[in-house]
């Protein structure tokens, strides 16, 4: 059963005189529990697609329907709330809050949602174990390695059990060993928590671990393969 339906999506940027067609008629759907890589050369529209699915950007044409909600029709305020409650985000540059410890970073979104402290504790402990850094609970991001920081970011994205997780180039700042390690943790959580992961990547070794590979080129789907 599809949780995300993307119908006939178009997006054009008018940065200079020449319009850039970032997305050129995309039709896609994602099922619950997928582990999907979106690949393609830079400028192929990966980031634009993820931004529109995540409600951070609006398409010029077409629609994104997530569990019956047409995301691009929501008001600004509703979109913020929708992101908070239904989507998890992982960023290329980790984007942790430097003054909070690893545990506090993981609990951050739960706190925004107003989840009581005890429940947050329970969930963050569980996730610290799951990403393999239970001993780093009280460490601040600055003292963690890149791979460890991104694991905290994965735990943060998963904490509120969102419907799906969007990750734009999650391994771009990591060396290959950390990248593979991170991906196996993500895959493991995908399996254990049945969370949908959609990530964009350049990295061949990361692509290999995906179960479905969607290739974009010039804003169109070039191929869509189940592995």
């Amino acid at each position: 059963m599809a949780i995300i339906n993307i119908n006939n999506l178009y997006k054009t940027y008018n940065l200079s005189q020449v319009p850039v067609h970032a997305l050129n008629g995309i039709n896609l759907s994602f099922d619950k529990g997928e582990f999907t890589a979106i690949v393609g050369p830079s400028g192929s529209g990966k980031t634009t697609l993820l931004n529109i699915v995540g409600g951070l950007d609006n398409p010029n044409q077409g629609q994104v329907i997530i569990d019956g909600t047409e995301v691009n029709k929501l008001t600004k305020h509703e979109k913020i709330n929708f992101r908070l409650h239904h989507i998890g985000f992982i960023f290329q540059a980790y984007n942790l809050i430097p003054v909070l410890t690893a545990r506090e970073n993981i609990e951050f979104i739960l706190e925004l949602q107003g989840i009581p402290k005890l429940k947050r504790r329970e969930r963050s402990t569980e996730l610290l174990e799951a990403v393999g850094i239970p001993e780093k609970a009280k460490i601040r991001p600055r003292q963690l390695s890149g791979g460890q920081q991104q694991r905290v970011a994965v735990a943060r994205a998963l904490a509120s059990r969102p419907r799906f997780i969007l990750a734009d180039e999650p391994t771009a700042n990591l060396d290959s060993a950390s990248a593979e390690n991170l991906l196996s943790i993500m895959k493991d959580l995908n399996h254990k928590e049945n969370t949908t992961f959609i990530f964009s990547t350049h990295d061949e070794r990361v692509v290999k671990m995906a179960r479905r590979i969607v290739t974009l080129e010039d804003g169109k789907i070039k191929s869509d393969n189940q592995v």
Partner: protein, 260 residues
Amino acid sequence: MVIGQKLADQLQIGLRSRLILRFQDIEGTLTGGAFRVAGIFKTNNTAFDGTNVWVRNNDLAELLNLCKGDFHAAVIRLNDSDQAMSTSKNLEQQLSDSEVLSWKELSPELGYLTELGNTYLYIFTIIILLALGFGIVNTMLMVVLERVREIGMLMSVGMARWRIFFMIVLETVMLSATGGMIGILLGLLMVWHLGKTGIDLSVWSTGLTEMGFNPIVYPEWDAALVLNIALMVVAAGILASIYPAWKALKLNPSEAVRVI
């Protein structure tokens, strides 16, 4: 008699010089007496030094045919200059046959100068607060620019806009309140020290003594004024944080998370 230094200089007299004073006695007949200079005094008020001599009450009473306890004027000193007007009004009602004048009526230019000083103080305060405001705007803009990635993340994951706005305003208030507290503490120490030693302004402004001001200033601690200024600083902080906070809200979250 004791004579002011400025008057002594003008008359070119020194210690042990004889001086003849002429005045009217109580019936209005012209009288006078010879006095010997026993001392020369110098106050902070050169005008006073140039126009006043002191003689013994007994000597004068004899020459003027005064009875014991006769005076033509009495000076009342108050601890608080702000009370001068109300006290003089009260006394005037009680002593109907006497004239009661406050210092502002006796010397209006002095009162005017004091008022002017207060006005200047407010103008200076406003200028300092303005400078402070721009300082805060600058600091907070830097804070926002340094944390574009963090703010982009907060917006992406769904932190409400008012919370982000409030976060930056709150940070500014805490920053200015902390700074204000340290400033007040330093000010307190300085006032406490200078209140004992005084600030000698005579090198720069000889004019002060012409007006009868003491050139050595002893700063005082005014709790109400400090509280006022502390509140004004925090208010300036809140006002100054609005622009940086608005700037943070204008960020595009999907671009902001990628800024290096």
